[in-house]
């Protein structure tokens, strides 16, 4: 997040009136203060719920990076978060507010399950089929919102959100029939709605580094982050997408079709979420079931990924460390339970951290705004 001051300049349209040096100090101070405040609040919360903050913090660090094998686990959790965030960055750059990643991810994982069994086979090819099936599912789900928007004018904020609920029901429905997603009788441990395990040959390979095991999807996600950052900054396509997001009328005149580029961005953003779902399904790892699709499989990864993108302020590369931090809170929470404090306290900590990371830009924005009264007047 070292380039935050940079971000502020490009993200806030308001002319800045403080010298650059002062500005960086200002940002650093604000960020440190608000993160500190979030940590102090978290500590107080822990204390009031009967724990004490030191062991909780220690458990959090153990659970996320320090204990053997844990950072591998965290990397595994960071992967879908990063993928979801990348998709969000793409749609946000085009000026779209896609907030239905949770649903797109779920449909992606369902599609991966279904097509994975349909195609079967093993080896690199079928793994790729599974992952792409996920992307396809997510894109389809976001595509519905796209059709609604560009054909009927339904705002994507509403449609993507509503589609999250429908996705949950659709998958629950699919998990009731064995010709859809439900595992056949013989293989089922209990009568709950679970899918069959992803076949061995269809799983994303896992590697072990210094005793930390994680799926190689980590590398794919990081490579995609670099690619997305590059494509947005350096390709004609990214240029036009940014133009659309920043000034739709200028874009319209220049030949950037709102329908074409907008729906493309929406589809891609859904594809990333769906891909994340497939990677969770076929990648294993403690948090994401056991290569099985279950109701509620998406486990808030979509929502959290959205937050990652928000905190990274639409920067694909910044999303990498942010995703890791958020994943750490997730993996660390399992260890917090051992201190006698409810593990879900990390959800609250996460919320506080998100707020802490969003407050500084907001403060600066509002202050600039106040100085400028309105963005446009300050521009010349």
């Amino acid at each position: 997040m070292t380039d935050m001051p940079e971000t502020s300049v490009s993200a806030s349209p308001v002319a800045t009136n403080v010298a650059r040096g002062t500005r960086i100090t200002e940002w650093l101070t604000l960020y440190s203060l608000s993160v500190l405040a979030a940590l102090v609040l978290s500590a107080m919360l822990v204390e009031t719920t009967g724990g004490s903050w030191r062991p909780v913090l220690s458990a959090l660090i153990d659970g996320s990076v320090r204990a053997p094998g844990r950072w591998g686990e965290t990397l595994g959790a960071a992967t879908p978060l990063l993928l979801v965030a990348l998709g969000t960055v793409i749609s946000a750059k085009a000026g779209l507010v896609n907030i239905g990643q949770e649903g797109q991810l779920l449909i992606g994982s369902a599609m991966a399950t279904y097509l994975g069994f349909l195609v079967g086979g093993s080896g690199a090819f079928s793994v790729i089929v599974v992952l792409l099936a996920g992307a396809l599912g997510g894109a389809l789900w976001a595509g519905i919102a796209g059709v609604l928007k560009y054909w009927r004018g339904v705002p994507e904020v509403l449609s993507t959100l509503l589609l999250v609920t429908i996705a949950g029901q659709a998958v629950a429905f699919g998990l009731r029939y064995d010709w859809l997603l439900l595992a056949p009788q013989a293989n089922r441990g209990n009568r709950n709605q679970v899918s069959d395990q992803v076949a061995e040959g269809n799983r994303v390979p896992r590697v072990t580094v210094f005793g930390n095991e994680f799926p190689i999807a980590v590398f794919i996600a990081v490579a995609l982050a670099v690619f997305v950052a590059w494509a947005l900054a350096r390709t004609v396509w990214g240029f036009r997408l940014r133009m659309l997001g920043r000034n739709p009328r200028a874009a319209q005149r220049a030949g950037v079709s709102q329908t074409r580029y907008g729906s493309m961005a929406l589809l891609l953003s859904g594809a990333f979420a769906g891909f994340a779902g497939a990677a969770m399904l076929a990648g294993g790892g403690f948090a994401f079931g056991n290569y099985r699709l279950v109701p509620g499989f998406s486990a808030n990864i979509g929502w959290t990924g959205l937050l990652v993108a928000l905190v990274a302020r639409e920067k694909a590369l910044v999303a990498i460390p942010v995703a890791f931090v958020f994943a750490g809170l997730r993996t660390g929470s399992g260890f917090v339970g051992s201190t006698g404090v409810e593990g879900r306290i990390t959800d609250v900590i996460q919320g506080l951290l998100v707020l802490a990371l969003l407050i500084p830009p907001a403060v600066i924005f509002i202050r600039d705004r106040r100085r400028a009264r309105s963005a446009t007047t300050a521009r010349t």
């Binding site: 396509w237 133009m243 009328r249 874009a251 319209q252 005149r253 030949g255 007047t377 300050a378």
Partner: protein, 521 residues
């Protein structure tokens, strides 16, 4: 300036503001007295707006002091400024289209809203300054001139005792601005206010100010009382060289129109038999609320012609520009460019057909403020700097540097964000981009708005040169004199229709005036 006189309303001393290597203001002194109007002149990017923003608290100076009524003070934000009685009318609009006039005016008010009070206050000010503003009109439906007046009301409503106008009249007609300044002069004297006027219109400054400060590249280069000063002296001091004031005066609407009939424009008549490069037939555009913005408009522009569209603002000029920018659909009719029909309203169709546009409001569809200068220079056509879909940064940079040099764009470099440029320099970016694309048709809507005298001269030359090179130029302007100066043929637009037309050599001002007023010819 007598020794016993009360302390000046505002005294700025040694004000310096740098943006990186750019010195926007360097050691500037400025004194404003009550009861006087102070004009500030200077080239594009000279630092005028920056100085004014320092006074209003939008920009904090790096060094220097401010004293208001003899008391030292620091102005951190416009709220501080308002407390000191300083108000400003900005160069660019900050209005919200979807709201009505009174809602826009009340925007940002603290406390309980009293719509009736706001409305009646608007009425009062409107009458006092002869602004003719209807409080319940929707801002989106207003012409640029009327919007500017809403901005003025927004500022004057708070009864500031020190008023800053940053190019308030760039979208007003000469008559309108005369009226505004007559009213202003009256209240300045009667109520002892201090007024600063930033303007590129020399004659306006000469007619309405008491003293003048001229800035160049961030510094004050001249300070003089208005009385006894001639426009030519001002222009020379501003630009640092002699400029052709003819073009400038024409663009700014002060030339004596009868002596233009025999200039070089007239010699360049175009053969009627040449096929038009742009041909609009029977074009009807329906706006929000079912208003006919264009009503069966017919218009031809041939290669080499400069067709001036004259008319009172709000008669369809904006819709015409939007139509040729692919921003609106046609209800009926056709647009043909180079003999091919163009799909109106389809994104990019017009620009692909070779129609370049300098839009009337550069911030609307002319540029993307959050992108860099270099990016804005290739907004319409990225192909020239791209290879297989990837933008070649070196090529982009090189192209931008060339344009920056060719068009004298003042900025910290190709990577400067567009919003950091001064108004006139933003306009130059738009001009540079549109001309560099080798269009077959060039639509220039109010192209000289916000440009300094030197740049107006340059713009006029470029438009003429483009026509000479075979481009069909369509000049949409609310400045009749500008049209008369450079157009080879003049058409008059009224209520969305072309109601009359005359070649340059048969110009008849009286008839033109009648046509513009809607009298059948």
């Amino acid at each position: 300036m007598g020794a016993s006189a009360p302390a000046p309303a505002v005294e700025l001393t040694g004000i310096t503001k740098k943006y990186g290597a750019v010195v926007a203001c360097g050691d500037v002194d400025l004194t404003l007295h009550r009861g006087r109007i102070h004009g500030i002149l200077g080239e594009n990017g000279a630092g005028k707006s920056t100085l004014m923003k320092i006074l209003i608290g939008l920009v904090l100076p790096d060094s220097g002091t401010i004293a208001v009524d003899g008391k030292r003070c620091t102005i951190h934000d416009p709220i501080d400024a308002a407390r000191l009685g300083i108000g400003m009318v900005h160069q660019h609009f900050s209005l919200i289209d979807a709201l009505t006039v009174w809602e826009n005016v009340a925007l940002g008010d603290a406390g309980r809203l009293d719509p009736q009070a706001v409305r009646s206050r608007i009425g009062e000010i409107s009458d006092q300054y002869g602004l003719g503003i209807e409080p319940d009109a929707r801002v989106g439906d207003l012409t640029a001139g009327l919007r500017q007046r809403v901005e003025i009301i927004k500022c004057l409503r708070r009864d500031p005792s020190i008023v800053v106008f940053d190019e308030p009249t760039s979208v007003l007609t000469p008559d309108e601005s005369l009226q505004l300044f007559a009213a202003l002069r009256h209240v300045v004297a009667a109520e002892n206010r201090a007024v600063v006027l930033v303007s590129h219109k020399l004659d306006e400054v000469l007619a309405s100010t008491d003293e003048i400060t001229i800035m160049r590249q961030g510094r004050v280069v001249d300070r003089r009382p208005t009385a006894g000063t001639a426009a030519r002296q001002l222009a020379t001091a501003m630009v640092g060289r002699e400029v052709s004031l003819r073009a400038e005066r024409a663009a700014l609407g002060v030339i004596a129109v009868d002596d233009v009939a025999h200039d070089e424009t007239a010699e360049h008549e175009v053969d009627d038999s040449v096929a038009p490069a742009l041909s609009i037939r029977d074009a009807t555009v329906i706006g929000a609320g079912g208003v006919r913005l264009l009503d069966q408009l017919d218009l031809d522009v041939r290669p080499g012609e400069i067709v001036g569209v004259a008319g009172v603002e709000g008669n369809g000029q904006r819709a015409l520009g939007d139509l040729l920018s692919s921003l609106v659909r046609l209800q009926s009719g056709t647009v043909m460019a180079g003999g091919q029909q163009v799909a109106a309203g389809r994104s990019g169709a017009m620009s692909r057909a070779g129609i370049a546009v300098i839009p009337e409001d550069r911030h609307d569809s002319g540029c993307v403020l959050d992108m860099t200068v270099a990016e804005n220079l290739v907004l319409v056509n990225q192909r020239r700097v791209a290879r297989r879909g990837v933008i070649d940064q070196a090529a982009l940079n090189e192209f931008a540097l060339r344009m920056i040099a060719d068009f004298g764009i003042q900025c910290s470099g190709p990577d400067a964000p567009m919003w950091s440029l001064s108004g006139g320099n933003q306009q130059r970016v738009v001009l540079a981009r549109e001309l560099s694309d080798q269009p077959t048709v060039l639509v220039a809507a109010q192209p000289t708005r916000g440009l300094d005298v030197g740049a107006i001269e340059y713009m006029t030359e470029r438009l003429r040169a483009a026509a000479q090179a075979g481009v069909a130029v369509l000049l949409i302007s609310s400045e009749l004199e500008e049209i008369i100066d450079i157009a080879t043929r003049v058409v008059v637009i009224h209520r969305g229709r072309i109601v009359g037309e005359m070649a340059h050599h048969e110009l008849d001002l009286e008839r033109l005036g009648l046509l513009m007023g809607g009298a059948a010819a």
